[in-house]
Chain length 291, copies 2
Amino acid sequence: MYEQLGLIGCGLMGSSFALALKRAGLVKRVVGFSPSKSTTELALKMGVIDAIANSAVEAATGADLILLAVPVAATEATLTAIQPAIASTTLVMDVGSTKSDVVHAALQTLGNRLPCFVPAHPICGREVSGVQNALVDLYVDEKLILTPLPETDTDKLEQARQIWTTLGCKVSEMSPQMHDAAYAAVSHLPHLLAFAMMNSLGAQAEGDQYLSMAGPGFRDFTRIAAGEPAMWRDILLANRDELLAQSRHFQASLHALEKLIESGDAAALQDSIREASQARTDWHHTAAAPK
Amino acid sequence: MYEQLGLIGCGLMGSSFALALKRAGLVKRVVGFSPSKSTTELALKMGVIDAIANSAVEAATGADLILLAVPVAATEATLTAIQPAIASTTLVMDVGSTKSDVVHAALQTLGNRLPCFVPAHPICGREVSGVQNALVDLYVDEKLILTPLPETDTDKLEQARQIWTTLGCKVSEMSPQMHDAAYAAVSHLPHLLAFAMMNSLGAQAEGDQYLSMAGPGFRDFTRIAAGEPAMWRDILLANRDELLAQSRHFQASLHALEKLIESGDAAALQDSIREASQARTDWHHTAAAPK
């Protein structure tokens, strides 16, 4: 049981964490900060937080658990701001979608509190954002990756593991580099492609007409294109090198398929589609149900 | 009320149509043909069909309503086979995902029965196929496109419209050319991209590991990659020119986003993502719920 969660960022991810933590009986009191006053007021009204802090450092002061749920580009400034308020016994986590840059920010800012920090990435989200869309079940049955540093305190790492496991996550550990390579491939690239798909329609005079005729396949394929622009700008930039490398891999596979279509090689095209189809069928049983 | 549906192809689409037609009380008897004996036997057992035909022409004989639900590449051969069995009063429809090639096949084969044919494309499907996955509700609340020829009988067109409307479809009409351009953009290209996404992972040594870490965004983005290989081979080849043109449009949008990421132009990147996100948010309310 934690005495006080300092919640820095009362958006979808942070607010859902606070709700889940409260339901699990893991925390007595949540003190929340967001740059927008209307956000924290709504969070208070919804019971997500119990008190409003006027700054990140105020939310962190006196907390034995701190969650950073801010856009990844804001991580370094936020850690700088709260560093003086972190006690040696405090567990500090984030929920950022990229990890090398977050670890870099922690190394630059946390000094003697570096061992308190356990970088975390829950593999879930919604196409809508904000405290008003928080779900107490957001993390249930979802994957969660921890990317500890060599300096991370092993007790803190174990605490982090226990919290997320209690919230229903399947927790695993890896290096920040491995994390960023993998999520460039299975998350950041799909988002980039979904954005490009929507923009490709937008760039065509007939795009709106085509769009009006789209069906359920298009709906699911482009769901992630509705992601929050500022958040995804930060992620795509933070993981630029891995993302561009994955985009090159993807374009090689796309061009190979295009060549088979151009040449009318039906047998090889079917083989290539079969590989894709089989890989997808083999995979999809491990994913959580939609929320 | 139709006396007899001749169902040629007892797969997912055809079987779901028969089930829906029966539930709506629109047909007395369904005679079904599929090349695979086990398919028609299962269709009979499931009550999808009432009698097994040993050939396409046998299923068509005596039918006042014929539905072709075969891979698009098989359309011409199937129409050739059933042409002698089509009466002038019979309504013939297909459910193919491409329409220019289907219309071409009809022009080549139907002769004096051309007016009986109303090409149709229901905008729905599942990532699983076969009669065993048929759903009586597959067509409910989905779009359906009719692409009549100049030669199509106007009464037959009206009959087709009434059938699909009764099954719960939102029916619209357009030219085969318009249809194929639109579905290249909003269906065939997304499938091609989803296949390429899976193949791109398969081509990397770490692909399986990356895949094991994928979450719900990836699940939805790649759902359509599990499509039936032979069916999608036919569609991508049948609509080759429009598909490759859409792929070029898409790659131009992708390259524009890549350039903003490479140059670190955060403001322009956010603007571009916002356009995509807004377009997707504005659209998604018109799509049917997942089945």
